[in-house]
């Protein structure tokens, strides 16, 4: 086993909703090693979002120990957590969360702004990150000038730009069509093979299939935790593209068959 980067030990989380106590996590013990690509699965209410918030240092556990990159973070203050989020973690959200009317470059630079990186180096690193996600030619585009897949890739570049220890992706394909989803998953697999640790939350088994490990949550506990042979996203993409093209070709030939009589009429 490699070096542990995320360590959870008996982590619980209790919310108070009025008088009712909601046990979102009921003792989660989990270790993720450097270089792993793990998918966290579960239906809504299983506690996977709460787990993600705790892993993302956006929330604190009620009890239990959480060590990130060997450091205990359960007892850090809000500024300390902000620093961890800035330097150790990278976030990818379902709804992209890009700043509108702001160029891709500036969106990617955002975390570096809060890390006090000088302007010249910020530009350089943001350009590199955009190059890594294949958007070197979209540097000055605004989010509304880009497709959903491109926007999500900008968001991934933003997560990458600080060279984080872990990338946390919360339903990153939730707002994308299936082909674009697979495209984004190829990118995650590329990052994985480059050695980046990725934790991905999803409720789609197809998407979880691209990860090397699946952690299933139910009722605030880990129910299943197993390594798997990941599906190759690139091959899946090729298959999906081939299928779409075939369908399009069929539609086209049907359409032409329908149009043919009209063409004759107009010609005479």
């Amino acid at each position: 086993m490699g070096e542990a980067i995320v360590q959870l030990e008996g982590v619980t989380k209790v919310y108070k909703l009025g008088d009712v106590e909601v046990h979102a996590l009921r003792g989660v013990t989990l270790t993720v090693n450097r270089g792993e690509f793990a998918a966290v699965m579960g239906s809504s209410g299983s506690g996977k979002s709460t787990l993600m918030n705790i892993l993302g240092c956006l929330d604190k556990p009620t009890s239990g120990e959480f060590r990130l990159d060997g450091k205990p973070v359960s007892r850090l203050g809000s500024d300390g957590l902000a620093r961890i989020r800035n330097q150790t973690l990278g976030f990818v959200f379902q709804s992209f969360n890009l700043l509108s009317r702001t160029t891709a470059l500036e969106n990617v630079e955002l975390p570096l702004l809060y890390a006090d990186v000088p302007a010249a180096e910020r530009h350089k690193r943001a350009r590199e990150a955009l190059g890594r996600v294949g958007l070197a030619d979209r540097v000055h585009h605004h989010p509304n000038q880009m497709s959903g897949g491109q926007q999500q890739r900008v968001a991934i570049a933003r997560a990458l730009v600080t060279n984080p220890k872990v990338i946390l992706a919360d339903e990153p394909t939730g707002n994308l069509d299936s082909e674009t989803s697979i495209e984004v998953m190829t990118l995650f697999q590329d990052l994985w093979s480059a050695g980046i640790t990725i934790l991905l939350v999803t409720h789609e088994p197809d998407v979880a299939g691209f990860a090397g490990r699946v952690i299933s949550m139910k009722d605030g506990r880990v129910r299943l935790d197993r390594a798997q042979q990941p599906e190759d996203a690139r091959q899946a993409l090729a298959r999906a593209v081939a299928q779409r093209e075939q369908e399009q070709a069929q539609e086209q030939s049907q359409g032409q068959a329908h149009e043919a009589p009209h063409a004759q009429e107009s010609g005479s």
């Binding site: 902000a82 989020r85 969360n97 009317r101 702001t102 955002l110 809060y114």
Partner: protein, 409 residues
């Protein structure tokens, strides 16, 4: 994050909603502009009052003789001649705080030239009168001691009288006029002095030697001075002292025992002037306070818009927190936005306030007076408004829970 970056981010956020930012700043523009314009107008009015009192003559005391009672009807001051020519000389000689003293014998008479005539006030006085009222001649000279001694028939004219008798641009020095059918030679024309605070035209009058007045115009009582004595103190501070000294001297000369009333009265024009200046000062304060209220309303506008902005940008705040913004970063970002709005409004407000003040000053023919400290106060106040009213929305933003904020629709 550096200050410059924070300002750039704030500027960009404001530019995204140009019209909204402008309208929000407009509240401050109007507020600051109103304060600057109102204070400038008030100061201009005050300067006008000061000018008109300066025209009257500075540090003046008017000494009037006592009252008389006949058949139960009390006459006013001056109805009973108690002041003597010797009193005048004594004041001149014995009161150190007094600089100039001059008699003022007054009547109304028709002044006649070959073609025109004009009814005006005729004042019999001495040469010191013109120095006392700091009233120079525009042409010719005033009469001197020899004219007093010889009771010569010379006259010094005010500009209004010259305008009426000889035409606006004429120089009548050397010409003859008749007053009560007695020919007088015009020896000088006084510079234009304008109006008194009560609207009386200083320039509508002619001046002749006091001796000539008594012998030719209105027979005097020889020993008694049938009019008032004007005296000027050496400085503004000395007027009260001069008043005390003159009172003491006259009581002694008139043999008034302790406990009896004065048989004369002294009016202090400097006191009158300061009372009127106090009035304009109150007016300025009032105007400025009303303007300050509009500045406060502008501040409420900023707070309102910042609160809307925080709600609108909840997700952005959540995202910034997720990528590593500390609460302090969020706080300063929104605070700087509010501050940028208010100080930009302040700068434009100063410019428009000065413009309005300039226009009004030109319109009312007032001097344009802008105290630099008012500008500093206005800028400071608008900054305080920006911080004061921006703080609550900024705090609200910085206290958001990043999880909730990211989920906000």
């Amino acid at each position: 994050m550096t200050g410059l970056q924070t300002i750039r981010i704030a500027g960009r956020a404001l530019m995204r909603n140009k019209l909204r930012s402008f309208l929000t700043a407009l509240g401050i523009i109007i507020g600051v502009g109103a304060v600057i314009a109102m204070v400038a107008i008030g100061d201009g009015a005050k300067a006008m009052v000061e000018q008109s009192y300066a025209a009257m003559g500075s540090n003046l005391l008017v000494i009037m003789s006592g009252t008389t009672t006949s058949g139960g009807a009390h006459g006013g001051f001056g109805s009973m001649p108690t002041l003597t020519w010797d009193d005048l000389t004594a004041i001149q000689r014995e009161v150190p705080a007094v600089q100039y003293v001059a008699p003022q014998l007054r009547t109304n008479a028709q002044v006649i030239t070959e073609e025109q005539n004009w009814s005006t006030s005729v004042t019999g006085t001495t040469a010191d009168y013109f120095a006392l009222r700091s009233w120079p001649t525009a042409s010719g000279n005033t009469f001197g001691q020899s004219d007093i001694d010889g009771a010569t028939k010379v006259v010094v004219m005010g500009q209004t009288v010259v305008d009426k008798l000889f035409g606006p641009s004429a120089d009548p020095v050397g010409q003859m006029v008749r007053i009560r059918n007695i020919p007088f030679q015009v020896v000088g024309v006084l510079a234009r002095k304008g109006q008194s605070p009560s609207g009386q035209d200083y320039d509508d009058g002619v001046f002749i030697p006091s001796t000539t007045f008594m012998t030719k115009i209105q027979g005097g009582l020889k020993k008694f001075l049938q009019g008032t004595i004007m005296a000027s103190a050496r400085s503004a501070d000395a007027t009260a002292k001069a008043q005390r000294q003159i009172t003491g001297l006259l009581r002694e000369r008139h043999n008034l025992p302790k406990g009896t009333d004065d048989d004369f009265s002294i009016r202090n024009l400097a006191e009158l002037a300061s009372a009127q200046q106090e009035g304009t000062k109150t007016l300025t304060t009032l105007l400025a306070s009303i303007a300050a209220v509009s500045l406060l309303v502008g501040g409420v506008g900023i707070m309102n818009i910042m609160l809307v902005s925080v709600t609108e940008r909840t997700r952005e705040i959540g995202l910034r927190m997720a990528v590593g913004a500390r609460r302090f970063d969020i706080l300063t970002q929104f605070l700087v936005e509010a501050l940028t709005l208010s100080s930009a409004g302040g700068i434009v407000g100063i410019a428009s306030g000065l413009g309005v003040a300039h226009q009004l000053a030109a319109h009312f023919n007032w001097p344009l007076l802008v105290r630099p400290q008012i500008i500093v106060i206005a800028v400071g106040f608008s900054a305080v408004v920006g911080i004061g009213f921006g703080l609550y929305p900024a705090r609200k933003a910085s206290r958001l829970d990043p999880i909730e904020a990211l989920r906000f629709e």
